[in-house]
């Protein structure tokens, strides 16, 4: 297999050797002449929470948009369960079991909470009762506000709704783009606890974050992206204690 896969075996020793679910192989993505991703390799195994960290403009959102089919890689592959999925149109990616909460949440502002969740179940041509109950159990705040218009929710509630809506599509893999963006620490805490619960219930999570400390506490493994290239990858605990990460992303003085 590719170098990436071999590399994976060495570094991911502490995590159970579950089969790879999502693989990004030497992924290069361009916006016109600007190269946003310079050949990244990322593997997400079944059942993991993988954190993709990086500063503003590092290419995190670009990575997720490529996975979800909104962007096409110029070189490299996106594989799901071993099969290439780059080139699958974005609305079909949902049917492959990939759900996402996009950057900036993007709830349907003039639909109620319930209607938003129903849209999340779009691919089922009906709204499965169990899924709705599960999501409302996960997010009691949403249950209380089920008839409120989504545009009038607070930022934290909108983030919960965006995640809940993604869950309604019954994804095996959940892509989260900066769920902590612009939220108070307490709310971030709550949301990360829920992400943990979602993962415990069996959903694999690829978590894009700038909030490295929170993300790494939750994640099994992490990658650090800098200007379109992966500069570090390791177990989350190892990254969390790595002096370079602490200096660059956890706001500590240089080691």
């Amino acid at each position: 297999m590719t170098e990436a896969a071999n590399f994976e075996k060495e570094t991911a020793g502490s995590v159970t050797e579950a089969p790879a679910m999502l693989e990004l192989v030497d992924l290069q993505v361009f916006y016109g002449a600007i190269q946003a991703l310079k050949g990244i390799n990322v593997t997400v195994r079944q059942g993991e929470v993988v954190a993709l960290l990086g500063a503003n403009g590092a290419g995190k959102t670009t990575t997720l948009r490529t996975i979800s089919g909104l962007l096409q890689p110029r070189h490299g592959e996106v594989r799901l369960g071993g099969e290439r999925i780059d080139g699958v149109p974005s609305h079909k990616v949902v049917e492959l079991g990939i759900g996402q909460s996009p950057e900036g949440r993007r709830v349907f502002p003039v639909m109620t909470v319930l209607e938003n969740l129903e849209m999340g179940a779009y691919r089922f041509k009906g709204v499965p009762k169990d899924d709705l109950e599960r999501v409302l159990d996960l997010f009691p705040r949403l249950a209380e506000r089920r008839t409120q218009l989504a545009g009038t929710l607070s930022g934290g509630e909108q983030q919960m709704l965006a995640i809940g809506r993604a869950l309604m599509g019954r994804p095996n893999l959940l892509l989260l783009d900066e769920p902590s963006m612009g939220l108070a620490p307490l709310i971030v805490q709550q949301i990360f606890e829920i992400i943990k619960e979602i993962n415990d219930q069996g959903t694999t999570v690829l978590l894009v974050e700038q909030n490295a400390s929170q993300a790494l506490q939750l994640a099994d493994r992490g990658y650090v992206l800098e200007t379109g290239a992966i500069v570090m990858e390791d177990d989350a605990s190892a990254l969390l204690s790595d002096p370079r990460v602490r200096a660059a992303y956890l706001g500590e003085g240089a080691a």
Binding site: S90, K92, P102, R106, F108, P109, V110, R123, R165, G169
Partner: protein
Amino acid sequence: MSDTTAAKSFSVDVAKLRRKAWYQQPRWTRLLGMVVLGFILALMTGEDGNPAERLSAFTGAFESARLWICLAILVGVWALVEFGAPVRNVARQGRQSVGKSLEPTRAMFRSNGWLRLGGLVLVLVLAIVIPANTSLFWQEVLVTQMGIFMIIAVGLNVVVGWAGLLDLGFIAFYAIGAYSCAFWTGHMPVKPPFTVGALESIPFAIVTCLIAGVLLGAPTLRLRGDYLAIVTLGFHEIVYLVAKNSDGFTNGSRGVIGIPHPSIHIGPINYDWTLDPLPYWYLLLFFLVVLIFLYNRLEHSRIGRTWTAIREDEVAASATGINTVRYKLLAFAIGASTSGLAGVVYSSKVGFINPENFTIVLSVLALAYVVFGGMGSIAGVLFGAALLVWLPNALRDIVPEQDRFIYLGALLVIMMIFRPQGVIPSRRRQRELHMAEAGLGDADAMTEPTGGVKS
């Protein structure tokens, strides 16, 4: 003590910033506005201009008592608004008590489906009976303008109101429908493989418009808001110019003549439409009832909800698994074929079409009808089309011919200031507008963030 001095760290006099000169107070600004409006009104209603003596219209309008009457009326209105609080209170109380006494009836209508149906039947009966008792002039207006544009408005509502796509060239499809009818009845320079009657040409026209809608939509529906509007505008111009210039195909600006009136011969039903407008009204009414029924179902179907999602956030819609391009195309195609149907009825009614029947102004007016009536609401757009077609025609005998559309314009401006959601807005559209105004979300084709092509 020390707090207050510390808090005031700026050197400017805030009180001065907050104070406004008397003439800046809203009340006096409004008076100024009314006076200006009075002058304009006097000018508008005054004598016609005369090229030989350029200022004649001004002197004519301002020297007579007309100016003083106009000013008196408008300043009177102003005074009533500013100082007439007691009068308004009485009016408001009256309105409220009427509203309250109507409330049980309304609730009854809402809860009782049969009652609603009864209401609709009543409207239908009125729509059948009243036109039969009006003058020939109004019957003609009812058919060739009102009914036709009601159908067009219902179709445009699918595109603009539901899918949120700003279409400024909708009349292009109306033209295509009309020319399709001319073609399939065998009256264009180019002959069809076989000819059919006017009514039988409807399916052909609808299919042609569907294809035209998809041809226009497929390459352009990735564009957003204002960009799409420009493309549709261009499309209209292309259709118009082709109709006007391709002599061998459409007979150019001379137009097509001799398009037959519709007729039905199915089993025992035998009927031929003639020049008499009233039967065409019933034909249009039949189509309208069918369309209203179908589109009402459509609005509350899965497709309708999909359009709402696309309108509110296209990226999020795509992330939930919606094929956004396909559904936008569907809206385009449905709208186009509806407009084509109107084109067939029109051309077979008047029997004669030329490119000047399909100018860009009509596309703009059609959009105005939809926005005025209330985007997204079938009842609203029907009302909008009816009222705005009625107005210039009703003014025909009252004001000079060439001034009629000024009043239409004034009405549109006033409406957009005071009731931008339209006369009978759809609930969801109204909320969208409120939220956009409050800066919460932005869900309108008209105000799409300038993004150009969807990435």
